[in-house]
Amino acid sequence: MSAIDGAVSRRRVLAGVVGAGAVASLPAAVRRAGAQAKPTISYWNGLTGADGKVMDDLIERFTRETGIRIEQQRILWADLYAKLQVSVPAGEGPDLALIHTIEVPHFASDGVLEPIEDGVAAGKGFRSDDYLPSTWQGGLYQGKRYAIPLDVPQHVLYMNTKVMRDARLVGADGKPNVPGSKDELLAMAKRMARGDTFGFAIGTVNPGKYTWGFQNLLWQNGANVYTADLKRSALADPAAIEAAEFFGAIHAKEKVAPPANASCRDAFIAGKLGLWIAGSWNVTGLRDAKVDFAVAPVPRIFKRPVVWTMPHQFTFPKPKAVDAARREAAWTHMRWMSDHVAEWTLKAGQVSARRQPHADPRITGDPVLRTLLAQAPNWQGGQPTPKWVAAENLTRPMIETVYIGQKPPQAAMEDLARQINALPD
């Protein structure tokens, strides 16, 4: 066969393939014609865990029902925030972004987020009465709304049934005993701690990130990172030092908490940790690992049984010029997601900021979700200052030195308060 013959036949084959493809895709093209007017929106979020798959499924359903296509970019939270900060001023931000409440103040103050008029939000069916107050307040910065809450990642007490049974800390029904006070918690933790098994830990999966556990203790003792007027750090106040003292005692003094840098999640799964105050996002992983565990509300260790939360919020990153159709499509998605948030709760394990699904029998029937909902009156989140995240970054290394007993709590808190007060504007 000559080269020319070859070329012709290739062309014929190609033409045939293209033709066949066109015929095959005809019904799809006809089907799409009706949906052609619907825009495609970009949506950035940090749902990189098992919750990402749940979101994919819900978005697929949303597209089927509304015809609006969503192009998701899923990036680790820390990278997502850096990316928003770079992209939005350049006019390259997404139509919709899911962020944590504590990121709202600094993004709002930097002009990265578009303010949302209360009238507009109410017109789309988002009203404050429908939401739990702490979550709805989290969308505000200096009296203006920048975000609409979706769900409430929060702390909860995980109890390892095996470790507690071995220490004879279960009731007649085989269910773990729930500590009711700081002394009770420490006494139980001491009974469980022996060898490489530990009784109690407060904190997240990632090593070094003790900050959120410490914040929970701080808030329980009526203390906070900043004073109420947000002008200076309140960490050198006696209530904050008392919280730091407890944080320093559990490992360095009482030896009931695992060493720093240990993965509490792995220790809990391996049956080497009894009581663990940690984020509700661990539920799915612990269930997948087939750990025999129960949950209870975060115990009252100090004055109030405050539960640490960090709700997810929908936001509109500021575009160079608003595309009305795409903005409307983003609102449609937020509305649809809020209306279907019960399914998100059931599959992703995070309870909604909206009250209405809280009565859903599928949710109240689940012991874990029921516990998370029971904590709602005690929910608390970060303070609305643009410096919150920077202060958090300073807190981690300092509170770690307290945890390992390297620095006395009072000196550490005074140092930390000084560092936070010196943060540039």
């Binding site: 820390a78 850096a82 900060q85 770079v86 939005v88 001023p89 600094h106 930097d110 002009g111 990265v112 490489d196 530990f198 090593p207 070094g208 990130k209 695992p258 060493p259 720093a260 840098n261 240990a262 993965s263 792995d266 220790a267 391996a270 080497k272 940790l273 643009p386 410096k387 995240v389 920077a390 970054n393 981690r396 290394p397 300092m398 770690e400 030195t401 390992i404 390297q406 620095k407 943060l423 540039p424």
Partner: protein, 299 residues
């Protein structure tokens, strides 16, 4: 009359040719290396913050603040400690392995690949693997130490062992790379020199000091300089293994810089000042090294 007019046109065109060939590379270098470098220098004299369109000239304020920034000082000290403490193991261990492999031990090719393998892994993989291996509660490292009756500790959470542990993981990671470079250098040394030395009665140590080491000097200089530059830029391992902890015990200069630029409010002005201080330190060390190790030995 200018000099140029006397040069024949063809010759002038000929002189331009190499620059034309170099142009694509030079353009990329200028756009992605030189421009950011110089723009960073400009930013270091401003209060620039990412996300804010307006910023002001602040003179040397960012540099002055660095003089008072105790965490930056601690980070520089940690970086210097890491650099000094890791240099001997990084120079010596791969060299010892290379000499052993160069003598033709059994399974030489297999061993060379095995030693090189860790270097093919990304820093994240290396970090996460060691993080798990060294986990104080569920990690196998402590498990075996305990079962052998040795005392265990939280290697990465103890200020006295954290940096040494990072050095150990780094040596494990990069040893194979330097081993391959040393092997290439060793194979360049003429065998006759060793034969002549043997006839003169030189023992293994004597020929190592008199032949191997002097002739390996250019390779040693390369390994030394690249390791020192790389050490001053250490970030990935630390970020994954300890996040600079416990406290600030393993916090390094680049981590401090990264957090200032990307996690702590996007202070590009301050971060640029840090980058230039670090740049000056690295240039200073490199010049010192070239001065100490310059020279060439030939027989």
């Amino acid at each position: 009359m200018s000099v140029l007019t006397r040069v024949p046109r063809r010759r002038r065109r000929g002189a331009l040719t190499p620059y034309l060939f170099l142009a694509p590379g030079l353009l990329l270098f200028a756009a992605f290396r030189l421009y950011p470098l110089l723009d960073g220098l400009r930013l270091s004299f401003t209060n620039a913050r990412l996300g804010r369109t307006q910023y002001a000239w602040v003179g040397l304020a960012n540099y002055e603040r660095l003089l008072e920034d105790t965490r930056f000082h601690a980070s520089l000290w940690n970086t210097a400690f890491y650099t000094v403490a890791s240099t001997l193991p990084v120079l010596a261990i791969p060299l010892a392995l290379a000499i052993a492999l160069n003598r033709g031990v059994a399974l030489r090719t297999w061993l060379r690949s095995a030693f090189f393998f860790p270097f093919t892994l990304s820093v994240v993989t290396v970090g996460l693997t060691w993080l798990w291996l060294l986990d104080p509660v569920v990690g196998p490292f402590n498990y075996y130490l305990r079962s052998l009756g040795f005392p265990v500790r939280s290697w990465l959470a103890d200020p006295s062992t954290a940096m040494w542990t990072i050095i150990l993981t780094t040596v494990w990671w990069v040893a194979g790379y330097y081993l391959v470079i040393y092997l290439a250098g060793l194979q360049d040394i003429p065998r006759e020199l060793y034969e002549a030395a043997a006839i003169d009665g030189a023992t293994g140590w004597r020929s190592f000091w008199a032949i191997t080491l002097p002739l390996l000097r250019p390779v040693l200089l390369f390994v030394f300089v690249t390791h020192i530059i790389g050490s001053f830029q250490i970030f990935g391992q630390v970020f994954i293994l300890t996040q600079g902890g416990p406290g600030d015990a393993t916090r390094t200069a680049v981590q401090h810089l990264y957090e200032t630029a990307f996690q702590n409010f996007f202070h590009f002005g301050s971060a640029s000042a840090m980058a230039w201080v670090l740049f000056a330190v690295i240039v200073g060390f490199s010049l010192l090294q070239f001065r100490v190790l310059r020279g060439h030995t030939e027989y």
